[in-house]
């Protein structure tokens, strides 16, 4: 038989969905022996299957019609039709953050690509493994100012881990393989693959490599053993240590190892906004989130520590406050997979470049080998000091108010969901309250936009979370400003029967803007009052969902119970909250970590 025998591609795709397990195996054996010619669109779909992709989020358009036609003719890869491309990318982010699998989005050229950019930039800032496919005008028209043409590779370059323009169908499969490899390895991030329309129509032999090596990209895995020994030396000598862990622990699957190490050392630990859930918040050793809205004990602990152990965190300005005043007496150990994160903002004494999980294991092994404990007397004194800070009870709030307190809603949400819900948020005060009061005990449960701070993230992200975790309870904590930025996705939720619970903390203000205006602009509330709000109950109902309006503090708990009892319904809960509530504690911009505004 001619080894270049061509199997009719439509037959390939049809066969696949209709075959039993045994014959599928046989069929693949046949595939291996013979080279198969497929169109670019069919190659695209086949690559997704071979990559194990089950869900993609997208929106069709002219440049991707061939691809949509190929998707239509199979059942393995499920396409979720969003209502705006920004929603597609945020949904893919939610999917990735809650499942440890890459998120995949597909959009058309021109406005499809530009609409996707906010999501791509968001994923870049928060290191979310995504592969975003964008359609492009045919290669013959590139550079011609063609209809719906935009230089996608150029426009996304500063906000992707890497991007590709595929000009030849023969390069398509290999490029897609590279895209998934780059997105998911090392420090994860979004990869954009721009595919011109003619490339999806042309045919090529299909071959998907099982693994790939790139001479220009070799992420480090294991940490340097000398640095690991040195890190343990520092830990054993520390008198006032503080572990500061971030999103890297969650992305790198290091929560369990972190748990073991921190317990073995009996050191206090704080999490960044992105790192919440990396260590159980109910654990005694957890001192809360740090940074601009971190707890008193976390920020004071950092400020007075003599050793900061940073794990998968990047010393963001919202964490450090004024960098000149940051941790004045501390030596710094920094473990990160990205060498460029080390000594970028804060100079580091013990740099360890590597994957969080294996390096934490190596640290544990080294610690156990030493058969030595850190200075117990010093540690005892340190804990006494921390408990004294903790007794300041910096997260207390008025329990007797006749207005609904947003903090109370979040605490009740925790009770009603037993702390087991996946929680997404938008950006602003409600995000900080969610971070401060929900209490995450497990990784991958807290999904929010930390780096870019994208209003409109919460709802589409929650869709992605629910797709990845169909049985889980998913809550989207939002504000009346943020929710209106991607409100159209309520239609997607109906189409795919996603029973999200939307917790709208409606204070009638762009709350965080209002808070800054109250503190720093003498209460001149420029444009922060959100006038002309829609009737959210009717709005939810018009999209085919259940709407609730809750105005009394006494109704909060029952309303939440009622909502979560509706297992197969999306419930949009409009909580009318105290309009003047502020997020405390707060480290004002430019201040040191120990200079907090407290309640």
């Amino acid at each position: 038989m001619d080894s270049r025998c061509i199997i009719d591609s439509s037959c390939v795709l049809q066969n696949e969905s209709g075959l039993s397990g045994k014959s599928v195996k046989k069929y693949y054996l046949v595939l291996e022996k013979m080279s198969v010619e497929l169109t670019g669109a069919e190659i695209f779909v086949q690559c997704l299957k071979d990559e194990g992709v089950k869900h993609i989020f997208g929106y069709p358009g002219g440049a991707v019609l061939h691809i949509y036609d190929a998707l239509y003719q199979q059942k393995v890869v499920n396409h979720i039709l969003v209502r705006h491309e920004q929603g597609a990318v945020h949904a893919a982010e939610g999917y990735a953050k809650s499942s440890q699998k890459p998120g995949v989005a597909l959009v058309t050229s021109g406005p499809g690509a530009t609409n996707a950019i906010t999501g791509i930039a968001d994923a870049y800032m928060d290191s979310v493994p995504l592969v975003v496919f964008t359609g492009q005008v045919p290669t013959s028209l590139i550079g011609n100012d063609a209809f719906q043409e935009v230089d996608t590779v150029g426009i996304t370059r500063p906000c992707v881990k890497h991007n590709f323009l595929v000009k030849d169908v023969n390069d398509l499969a290999l490029t897609i393989k590279k895209a998934f490899y780059i997105a998911t390895s090392g420090r994860p991030g979004p990869v954009v693959v721009d595919i011109p329309k003619d490339v999806t129509a042309e045919k090529a032999e299909y071959h998907y490599p099982e693994s790939i090596e790139m001479r220009s990209y070799k992420p480090t895995s294991d940490g340097n053993s000398r640095q690991i020994k040195k890190a343990i030396d520092f830990m054993l000598a520390a008198k006032q240590p503080m572990v500061y862990s971030g999103g890297g622990v969650i992305l790198g699957g290091g929560a369990e190892a972190l748990n073991e190490l921190v317990h073995e050392l009996n050191f206090p630990i704080t999490n960044t906004l992105m790192g919440l859930g990396g260590f159980p918040s109910s654990d005694r050793q957890f001192v809360g989130m740090l940074g601009m809205h971190g707890t008193y004990e976390a920020n004071m602990g950092m400020h007075h520590s003599d050793l900061v152990i940073a794990i998968g965190a990047r010393f963001d300005d919202r964490v450090t406050g004024n960098i000149e005043k940051f941790c004045p007496d501390a030596k710094v150990i920094h473990l990160d997979v990205d060498p460029a994160s080390i000594s970028k903002n804060v100079s580091v004494d013990v740099p360890i470049v590597g994957q969080v999980e294996p390096v934490l294991r190596a640290l544990l092994a080294e610690l156990r080998l030493r058969k030595q404990k850190p200075d117990q007397d010093a540690l005892k004194k340190w804990w006494t000091q921390i408990e004294e800070w903790r007794s300041r009870d910096c997260l207390k709030f008025d329990q007797g108010s006749d207005k609904i307190k947003p903090q109370d809603v979040i605490q009740k949400l925790h009770q009603v969901t037993n702390g087991n819900a996946f929680v997404t948020s938008d950006v602003g005060q409600h995000q900080m309250w969610a971070a401060q009061y929900y209490g995450f005990d497990k990784p991958n449960r807290w999904v929010n936009s930390g780096g870019l701070g994208t209003m409109g993230f919460g709802l589409p992200a929650a869709m992605g979370v629910q797709m990845a975790n169909p049985e889980a309870e998913v809550a989207c904590i939002t504000g009346e400003g943020s929710i209106q930025m991607c409100i159209q996705e309520l239609a997607t939720c109906l189409q795919y029967q996603l029973p999200l619970k939307i917790i709208l903390l409606n204070n009638g203000y762009l709350g965080m803007v209002r808070q800054w205006q109250e503190f720093f602009y003498d209460g001149r509330y420029a444009m922060s009052y959100v006038d002309s709000l829609p009737d959210f109950v009717k709005l939810a109902e018009s999209y085919g969902h259940v709407g609730m309006k809750i105005e009394q503090p006494g109704d909060v708990e029952q309303a939440l119970k009622d909502a979560f009892a509706m297992k197969d319904k999306l419930v949009f809960m409009n909580f009318i909250t105290d309009p003047e509530e502020n997020v405390y504690p707060m480290v004002p911009a430019g201040a040191g970590q120990n200079e907090m505004i407290l309640v």
């Binding site: 370059r157 500063p158 881990k161 890497h162 323009l165 001479r215 220009s216 060498p339 460029a340 100079s347």
Partner: protein
């Protein structure tokens, strides 16, 4: 401090703009940048001249290494190295032919084009030498200056190759 950094990168469309974009996005200085394919046509070699304190240079090197297309990098400033830049200068020679020729000879330059009114002179050397040549030409009016930007190679047995 001035640093001269050499890098090998995949000879792909857009690779240059990734480097240029990195420098503008992060606000790094870029004094000169030259790039061309090497003997291996899949690789381009770039020489970058930049300025910054130790911490900034460390970040520049890390950020460059982070670019997926960058295969290998060498900070030549850390090693004994040779640096060369080429310059083409068009000078008005009205009544100054001998002076221009004389200066060009001193700098081992070559006169490539001769007309009644102007010479084009080629000079090669490190950047200071080229600066010195321009100074030495005075008071002859300079019509045009084209400089290639510096390129560099490590001396001895240190090699930037894969």
């Amino acid at each position: 401090m001035r640093h001269i950094i050499s890098l090998l990168m995949e000879n792909e469309a857009g690779a240059l703009s990734r480097v240029a974009g990195l420098f503008s996005a992060r606000g790094y200085n870029i004094e000169s940048l030259t790039v061309a394919p090497t003997d291996d046509p899949t690789l381009s070699r770039m020489t970058l001249v930049t300025r910054g304190n130790e911490a900034i240079i460390e970040q520049i090197i890390k950020q460059l290494n982070k670019l997926i297309d960058v295969v290998k990098l060498l900070d030549l400033t850390e090693h004994k190295h040779i640096e060369r830049e080429m310059m083409l200068v068009k000078v008005s020679v009205d009544g100054a032919r001998d002076h221009v020729k004389h200066i060009a000879d001193i700098f081992h330059g070559r006169v490539l084009d001769v007309t009644q009114l102007a010479y084009v002179v080629e000079v090669t050397g490190n950047s200071e030498k080229l600066d010195a040549f321009l100074d030495a030409l005075q008071p002859v009016p300079i019509l045009e200056v084209v400089r290639s930007g510096a390129m560099g190679i490590a001396a001895g047995d240190i090699s930037l190759k894969i």
